[in-house]
């Protein structure tokens, strides 16, 4: 086992968090400047105070000295008024810098999207990609070429709306496509308590322990059995939290096929479009069957499509469509950038740079203080192996536990209610469920 080099962006230690801190500093500076100006104004009124002026008749020299000293303290080069203006001005300057950073990032991202749109409209991208793909295909290494250039997927998907002649962004196109076929209704079957793997009977002590449950569940699920589990973590004080393990896509038939398992391509398209899917509703039912209340903390853990559904469920937890207290999302190989994740949900996304699947949203994850993205390079030689939990992500998951990074550390600390420490009396019980789609 080799440890890949992990790169962290976003999260509590990320640039946007720094910008957030700067915003607070800017606001505080402006407030302080305003307060000092108020004090200075109040002090100026003392210069013409009736009692002070009256005292001048008794002690002209003393009054003049007092007025001179107060004027210097208020309006001198280092006086209160000048200091107030400097502090307020610094706040304003900070705010300008923050805005410039944010606008610059937004403009750059929008420019790239526009460029890709026009490439799609003109067919330039398809010709370019076709040429590169043909060349790679002729040399027999198209898969290696693609996994070494996963950004081509982003460019291609950004060009799709242009190719289709619509100004709508990719998410809207996916949403429109998703409505072309019915999603059915969820059917959830409880399959009892699972005690056949250490990850199901041992309280997790680390993020890799949490991921281990997902890897195990991913191995048990398939195209005809969409299997998930809910790990009920009970702390020694009796409080409960819930970890849901959600595997990825297993049914690869066409979206319009009558797939009884909701872990299919139709769910991929729908969730990419920001839809509340039947699979998400089934997970909500499973949580209810496992005993979760609307207040209990919930961590959603997903690989591939499982992570997409997890992120969408987190988004829906803010609007009541997923009526649970989703506090954490943990993903591996999932395109989650388009999900509108609330600020109070902590997300950690693991992405192999050579895995094509995280690129299916055609954009980078936001660098928000609550969204930490950990990337690494792992070229296993094929699309599937780069995406698989074991070969594509296994080493990085183990390396994550030893990573000394402020964003990852903050995520880990915030997930305390889902983890245990040796001898702390935490218990876990894993309940297994099968999800189906009824028409």
């Amino acid at each position: 086992m080799s440890s890949p080099e992990l790169h962290v962006s976003g999260g509590a230690g990320g640039t946007e968090a720094d910008l957030t801190d700067l915003s607070v500093l800017a606001a505080t500076s402006e407030d302080l400047g305003a307060d000092l100006l108020d004090i200075a104004a109040a002090c100026h009124s003392m210069l013409v105070d009736a009692d002070v002026l009256a005292s001048a008749a008794l002690d002209p020299a003393g009054a003049a000295a007092f007025e001179g000293a107060l004027l210097k303290a208020l309006d001198g080069p280092h006086g209160l008024s000048a200091t107030a203006l400097r502090i307020g001005g610094r706040g304003l300057a900070l705010r300008t810098v923050i805005s410039n950073y944010q606008v610059s990032d937004q403009v750059q991202a929008e420019l790239m999207r526009r460029l890709d749109w026009w490439e799609g409209r003109s067919g330039f991208f398809l010709a370019q990609a076709g040429s590169a793909g043909l060349s790679a295909a002729l040399s027999g290494d198209w898969e290696e070429w693609l996994t070494n250039h996963p950004g081509a997927i982003d460019d291609f998907l950004d060009s799709v709306p242009g190719f289709l002649g619509t100004q709508d962004p990719l998410q809207s196109v996916a949403a429109s496509l998703g409505h072309l076929w019915p999603d059915g209704r969820p059917v959830v079957t409880a399959q009892g308590v699972d005690v056949l793997d250490p990850s199901m009977i041992t309280p997790p002590t680390s993020l890799s322990d949490v991921y281990a449950g997902l890897a195990y569940r991913n191995q048990q699920s398939n195209a005809t059995k969409d299997q998930i589990d809910v790990r009920v973590v009970t702390q020694s004080d009796g409080s409960r939290s819930y970890i849901v393990d959600i595997p990825g896509t297993k049914a690869w038939g066409a979206p319009w096929d009558d797939n009884p398992s909701p872990n299919d391509l139709a769910t991929n398209v729908r969730v990419l479009g920001g839809e509340t899917t039947t699979r998400e509703r089934a997970i909500a039912e499973a949580l209810a069957m496992a005993g979760a209340t609307a207040d209990d903390p919930v961590m959603l853990v997903g690989h591939s499509q499982g992570g997409m559904v997890a992120a969408q469920a987190a988004a829906d937890s803010a609007n009541g469509a997923f009526d649970y207290n989703v506090t954490h999302v943990l993903t591996a190989g999932s395109p989650i950038a388009l999900a509108d994740i609330p600020d109070d949900v902590q997300v950690l996304a693991l992405e192999n740079n050579n895995d094509l699947v995280p690129h299916l949203d055609s954009t980078d994850n936001p660098g928000s203080p609550n969204i930490t993205t950990v990337t690494f390079d792992n070229q296993e030689g094929s699309i599937g192996e780069n995406h698989a939990m074991e070969s594509g992500y296994g080493d990085a998951i183990h390396a994550l536990d030893g990573l000394d990074d402020p964003s990852v550390a903050a995520y880990r600390a915030s997930a305390d209610q889902f983890l245990s420490a040796p001898g702390d009396g935490t218990a876990v019980q894993a309940q297994q469920f099968e999800l189906d789609r009824a028409r």
Binding site: V195, I201, S221, G384, S391
Partner: protein, 137 residues
Amino acid sequence: MATVTVLSACGGSDEGNNEVPKSSANSAAENTAIASDLQESFGKLPGVTSAEVNYQDNLTSPGSMAVRMQVAVGTDLAPLFDTVTELIWLSELDPLNTIALSAGDGGNPPVADNRTLTPSRDADHAELEELYGPRPG
């Protein structure tokens, strides 16, 4: 007598299963049949009370052979995993990128263990070859 339930997911459309086979040297049906035979063998191993096999070959689990076993309390899992690994390694399953074994006794408290190998990687492949010889075919 072991309870044997085939959960193999490698079947193609001829199996009524819409999973897309991925660059498999065998057909999906061939891998399903091999996995089914293996499951029956695992169910007969000493200490095993039930065995489930899940062979998948798709984008999220390429060439993945997962075995889940319920065992009698007190069963020594390490030699059981050795035997199961050898049977899988020497089977005709192809592709075989991952071997994931889990077993538990369902006791009170429950005891469980697992083992994951990735023969698609050189190190694990070499180790398995040294232990059990070359793969057939």
